[in-house]
Amino acid sequence: MATLTRAQASALTNDEILRYSRHLIMPEVGMAGQQKLKAARVLCIGAGGLGSPLALYLAAAGVGTLGLVDFDVVDYTNLQRQIIHTTGDVGRPKLDSAAEKLTGINPFINVRKFETRLTSANALDFFRDFDIIADGTDNFPTRYLVNDACVLSGTPNVYASIFRFEGQASVFATENGPCYRCLYPEPPPPGLVPSCAEGGVLGILPGLLGVIQATEVIKLILGTGDPLIGRLLLVDALGMRFRELRLRKNADCPVCGATPTIRELIDYNEFCGIRGEEAPITTTVPEIQPVELKARLDAADDIFILDVREPHEYQICNIGGHLIPLGDLPARMNELDSSREIVAHCRSGVRSAKAVTLLRQAGFGKVKNLAGGILAWSDKVDPTLPKY
């Protein structure tokens, strides 16, 4: 990768020598290693939970060219874990916020912003200019897109993913190592992906995993240590246990196997069973708007409010509904009176739509879904109700 011009360009100035002195005095990095870092070009996909610590440490370590792909805007719910962004950044594009912090930490690096969605049409073009890709996104279409584009372009993929208080990390798509498809040939169908009821993430977890990604990136650049190639690291933050599983390159892998069937990037939303990805989830169940429900409750109409969220969500805010978590509903339908009018709600309306379907199948004829859930209630009826 190091052409003559890039090697020359990676010579360190005196200011840089002072800045990187704690690297330079250790033999595992030294002048040669620091110049490799300066010559290196790393593309971080996503400037969120994993991308924050990842990019911050890579910038501090002196990785010469840091690319960032993101198209999102900072919001308040990001700040619990996306430590590259501050309260004052809410509403700003994540890329502008992140680039400012990175050049603030290290003005000697070159930050390249790609303010766009990574797609099958642009991924290979972007990847061409980088030596290592660090995948900090957490959705299946992008994960398979990044994996395939890394395999097709011969670029290592430093991967991590997080769920609640557990994380995984590995290094995929190195010359002889396995890729993500060797581990999981296919994604789960969308219905089996956990919903917001089971979601959430401990804020420090992307910190732990993002720093593991940064460590692997640095090791790959320096060519030192034992990278996580062929190993899947499992991190359990609650138990504070680290385990690893052996990963093998699958000879029948559709993208990196001996006779690959995937030779170019495909439609990853279709592959992951997601159609019209930004389209709101359409429900065919009967709905009632928050304002209408409020008017009818004020008129003392007999309406039973059923809250199908989890108990810990009820503690955040509630509108006095009867709490039966969606998962418990089949076993607890006897608590409901099918002769009464019932309005089911959850946080945003997805789980309660499932509840309405379940109840209607069970013979409850007068059940409706509160459109937009308790979030819409907060927006349209009672702004004092906190949103989460």
């Binding site: 969605r117 959705n139 299946f140 279409p141 769920f163 999981y184 296919e186 979601g199 997601i274 990805e277």
Partner: protein
């Protein structure tokens, strides 16, 4: 022997993270597990009874696909890990890039 249940599947095992059971093979262990927790069956197996492609099973640190698959023999001291692929949890995280 021990079966380690990953976080996303603990809602089907009464929040248990570890299940102790007796089995001579992976097949027997998964059969016993899904008998004890019937809701887990749909998560782990297709309607045809095949292990789902996004669910990997390990005996200790080795993927059963590179052993004898479900026929892999196990000892009482072995640990079976079920490792499904996961991606984020929030709806926002699924919007894609």
């Amino acid at each position: 022997m021990k079966v380690l249940i990953p976080t996303p599947l603990r809602q089907y095992t009464g929040r248990q993270s570890t299940v102790e059971l007796e089995a001579g093979s992976v097949d027997e262990a998964l059969c016993e597990l899904t008998t004890r927790y019937p809701e887990l069956r749909k998560q782990l197996f297709t309607a045809e009874g095949e292990l789902r492609k996004f669910v990997n099973v390990y005996v200790n640190d080795e993927d059963i696909r590179y052993l004898e698959r479900e026929r892999t023999l196990v000892k009482p001291t072995d640990t079976i890990s079920i490792i499904p692929s996961v991606a984020g949890g929030s709806v926002a995280a699924r919007r894609g890039f």
